[in-house]
């Protein structure tokens, strides 16, 4: 088979960060290639270089054997490359046909020849069994159908190379199965497909060949028939960084947080947490692993009063709580490092000093008789800057001026300094460099050793394996199992993350 797309030593740098480093790979005609890697491994960046959204810093791209420079999306379209992004690029108020020609209708055609487009869309839809009505409004279509509109958009533009970014992330299992069928049909028609994913089950279902990326680097390539889920998980996460945690120095204490049968529906009545039960003890780090979007945010917010839940019990320090506010969570001495530090954890326009007393302003010495005590707030800010090595010109600097790592240190300083009983940390090192990551993990270990019950919710398996004492795997809102770190390995967790559960692991459920 011939190569339709060849990447040679592609490097992409953003200011300081190298997102892709010397990546070479090829795509053969009629194959499904899976680009596998964890969040932030550089998969989407690499493909954005191919579809014209980014320009690679260095490296060469060949399409059908000739070297090309891809300047923009239009250019990519001409070369027969189409990408379906994770977040759909559709106008909900327009019809399917209108969305299909959006951006390619030539200005000299004053009238939209929408009838012609509609019949062509109809033809494509019939060819691939999409079952799409070209006249339907996009907003009235279910997500799975909207994705097909995106696919039709690329087909209408005569794409031969189709890139699907995390295509099943938004689909229900049955929609995903239908997508697998569509992909098969596309390859039969001679299209070549790249799927970007971190889901192992999806790879095993769809791909012919797999390229694994990690930390922006090419790790390896293998045919599906020569590999298995366990091997892929190891390649994806990286064996060498695993298990170099320190031995714990304290013993596990009493139960701090008890969760029984926690079930939560979101505002659209979709079940996001399904019957979750666990105990969090003083002096342990309880890690919750899992692929992003499987209920991590809902779990952390239900436990801190930010989201209401429908069924189950949350027992904090022996007291059962029902429908509690964030204020109560604060007075229960529960600290929370939220996933989104910019939108939730900090007020960007406020100074470091004021962000450090976002909740603690209620207490002496930061306020007295309803008045803020500015001197005490400033002194505290200075102290925290020193203690947590926050790189800033002073405590009066607005946090928006700080780097990601230093922003996170402000949150860490605030949430740890109040000496919590329970610390709920969600993706505490996301987007941080290695130094800041080490700092944050060490602080979490220090808190554990101090006797705090730490709930670490992270999509980075490496992080969980490094510092957690027990590990639960969250998949589609429920725990696939709770494992002791001593008797588990990456392959087992990888399988549970993908939703694969077998009898052997059943035995370790608590």
């Amino acid at each position: 088979m011939s190569d339709v797309l060849v990447l040679e030593k592609i490097t992409k740098k953003f200011a300081k960060v190298t997102a892709n480093k010397d990546i070479s790979m090829n795509l053969q005609k009629g194959e499904v290639l899976a680009l596998l890697g964890e969040n932030g491994a550089g998969k989407t960046t690499l493909m954005n270089c191919v579809c014209g959204l980014y320009k690679p810093t260095s490296g060469k791209i060949y399409v059908n054997g000739t070297e090309v420079e891809i300047h923009g999306c239009e250019n990519a379209t001409k070369l027969g490359i189409g990408m379906i992004h994770q977040h759909f690029m559709l106008v909900p108020e327009l019809s399917v046909a209108e969305n299909v020609i959006l951006g390619i209708n030539r200005p000299k055609d004053f009238f939209l020849k929408i009838g012609e487009v509609e019949s062509e869309v109809q033809k494509l839809s019939e060819l691939y069994n999409f079952g799409i009505d070209p006249k339907a409004l996009v907003k009235n279509l279910p997500i799975g159908m909207q994705q097909r509109v995106e696919i039709i958009k690329t087909l209408y533009r005569k794409a031969d190379i189709i890139i699907l970014d995390e295509a099943t992330a938004v689909l229900t299992p049955s929609e995903a199965r239908e997508l697998y069928g569509i992909v098969k049909k596309l390859t039969k028609e001679g299209k070549s497909i790249v799927i970007i994913t971190h889901k192992l089950e999806e790879v095993m279902e769809m791909a012919d060949r797999i390229v694994v990326l990690r930390d922006g680097k090419y790790i390896g390539s293998t045919l599906k028939k020569d590999t298995n889920v366990k091997e892929l998980a190891t390649m994806m996460v990286g064996r060498e960084v695993l298990f170099n945690f320190k031995e714990r120095t304290n013993s596990i204490g009493d139960i701090r947080l008890q969760v029984e049968g926690l079930t939560l529906y979101n505002e659209f009545a979709v079940k996001k947490l399904d019957n979750i039960s666990f105990n969090l003890h003083a002096g342990e780090i309880f890690g919750v692993a899992g692929v992003d979007g499987n209920g991590q945010i809902e779990l952390s917010e239900a436990l801190t009063g930010m989201m209401d839940y429908q069924e189950g019990k949350i027992i904090i320090n022996g007291k059962e709580k029902r429908k509690f506010s964030t204020m109560e969570s604060y007075s229960n001495n529960v600290s929370h490092i939220p996933q989104d530090r910019q939108a939730t954890g900090l007020i960007m326009e406020r100074s470091i000093a004021k962000n450090l007393v976002l909740a603690d302003y209620r207490k002496l010495p930061f306020s007295k008789n309803g008045l803020m005590q500015e001197t005490a707030v400033k002194e505290h800010g200075q102290k925290m800057i020193n203690e947590y090595r926050i790189k800033a010109a002073g405590e009066e600097i607005a946090v928006k001026e700080l780097s990601g790592g230093n922003k996170q240190k402000v949150i860490l300083a605030r949430e740890i300094d109040r000496k919590p009983d329970i610390l709920i940390a969600v993706q505490p090192t996301r987007g941080l460099d290695i130094g800041a990551t080490e700092f944050v993990r060490q602080k979490l270990l220090d808190e554990r050793n101090r006797g705090v019950g730490v709930l670490l919710i992270s999509t980075e398996l490496e992080e969980i394996l490094q510092i957690a004492d027990r590990i639960a795997v969250l998949f589609k809102g429920s725990f696939m199992g709770i494992l002791d770190k001593k008797c588990t390995d990456i392959g087992e967790i990888g399988m549970l993350m993908a939703g694969v559960k077998n009898a052997h692991y059943e035995g370790e459920l608590q």
């Binding site: 801190t304 930010m306 506010s325 964030t326 204020m327 969570s329 604060y330 929370h336 939220p338 939108a343 939730t344 954890g345 900090l346 007020i347 960007m348 326009e349 406020r350 004021k354 976002l358 909740a359 302003y361 209620r362 306020s367 309803g370 008045l371 803020m372 500015e374 607005a398």
Partner: protein, 354 residues
């Protein structure tokens, strides 16, 4: 981008903000001058008569201050709500409700001192204005309605409700005019300087400005309200009942606008009439924005607008430039104050695209 620019008004580099306001005013006057020039009049002449009419004599200054007071108090109302992230366009409606409250209490003869009667009138205005603002406040905080739309629509309701009252229950018995009975002498605001029209409303305005300044500078309440305004989600995360705080901010804002209505009735008009003030809610927004949301700055920006209004009459009489022309200057000044902070970002972006 506009929203980001307005957000940029939070914070505390006061001198930069003062410069910003002055720059906005100067640019407004400059482009206003261009328009005057296009009408065949020397802009320097026009501005001479404008300034002369505004501050050329003690009489002129007092008239300017009289126009300043309601503008400034409504400006404070807008600032209070905006600090908590609510855009109160309903200042006019709350102003009318406040004036209704003051008229009802002020027209009743009461055997009490003037101070007590005035305070009762103000309390009535606070309650009327506050409760009227509670409607959009509740809808915004608890039901997610856009406050810009609800407050604007409620303005019409308030204005037409006032007309209804003046054609029915509140109409002065035995007249054909749509006006209420005159307020009792005990319910009027006395002049600060005897023999002039300059009334105690000025003191009320200045005290309110200072109180609101200290609420946001020093108090935990101000800290919390501003947290909600800057990042509602972060405030919620930190344990605030953000909905209640937003409702509270809106009620206080409405109460302040209500006070403005009461002060205008008790200090200037002496009775409630239809449409005695037009567009005060929108002018309040202009005052707030030109002041960069600083309550003390509102004193200056309200005086600027008050003087502009007052001087406009003399300009019209002297050289025939329509007094409506000052609205162009007002609009341009606010436009530039909101626009200027975005200019560096715009340049960066433009360079980036290149």
């Amino acid at each position: 981008m506009i929203k980001a620019n307005i957000m940029g008004l939070f914070g505390k580099d006061y001198s930069r903000k003062l410069m910003l306001s002055i720059l906005g005013i100067l640019l407004g006057l400059f482009f206003g001058g261009v328009i005057i020039f296009l009408q065949g009049v020397n802009p320097l002449y026009a501005y001479y008569y404008l300034i002369n009419g505004a501050v050329g004599s003690s009489q002129a200054i007092i008239s300017s201050i009289l126009k300043t007071i309601p503008l400034g108090i409504v400006g404070l109302a807008v600032i209070f709500a905006y600090k908590a992230g609510i855009f109160n366009i309903g200042g006019e409606g709350q102003f009318y409700l406040g004036s209704i409250g003051a008229t009802i209490v002020g027209t009743i003869p009461l055997p009490i001192s003037q101070v007590a009667h005035v305070i009762l009138c103000l309390l009535a205005a606070i309650i009327f204005g506050g409760f009227f603002a509670a409607i959009p406040g509740y809808l915004k905080a608890y039901r997610g309605f856009n406050e810009i739309i609800t407050t604007m629509l409620l303005n019409y309701i308030a204005i037409l409700f006032t007309s209804y009252l003046l054609q029915g229950p509140l109409r002065e018995p035995g007249t054909y005019y749509n006006r209420s009975s005159s307020l009792q002498p005990t319910a009027l605001l006395s002049p600060i300087i005897t023999g002039t029209r300059l009334h105690f409303g000025l003191i009320i305005f200045l005290v309110l400005a200072i109180i609101i300044y200290f609420v946001f500078k020093k108090s935990t309440l101000g800290f919390r309200l501003e947290n909600v305004g800057m990042n509602k989600r972060a405030a919620f995360y930190a344990g605030e009942n953000t909905k209640r705080l937003m409702l509270l901010a809106m009620c206080v804002s409405g109460a302040i606008a209500g006070i403005a209505g009461a002060v205008e009735i008790m200090g200037v008009n002496g009775a409630l009439v239809e449409n005695f003030v037009v567009g005060i809610g929108y002018d309040g927004i202009a005052v707030a924005l030109l002041a960069s949301l600083n309550p003390l700055g509102a004193i200056l920006s309200a005086f600027f607008f008050g003087a502009l209004r007052n001087g406009a009459n003399s300009m019209q009489i002297s050289i025939g430039i329509s007094s409506a022309f000052v609205y162009i200057i007002q609009a341009l000044a606010v436009f530039f104050v909101v626009l200027i902070p975005g200019v560096p970002r715009f340049i960066r972006k433009y360079k980036g695209v290149k």
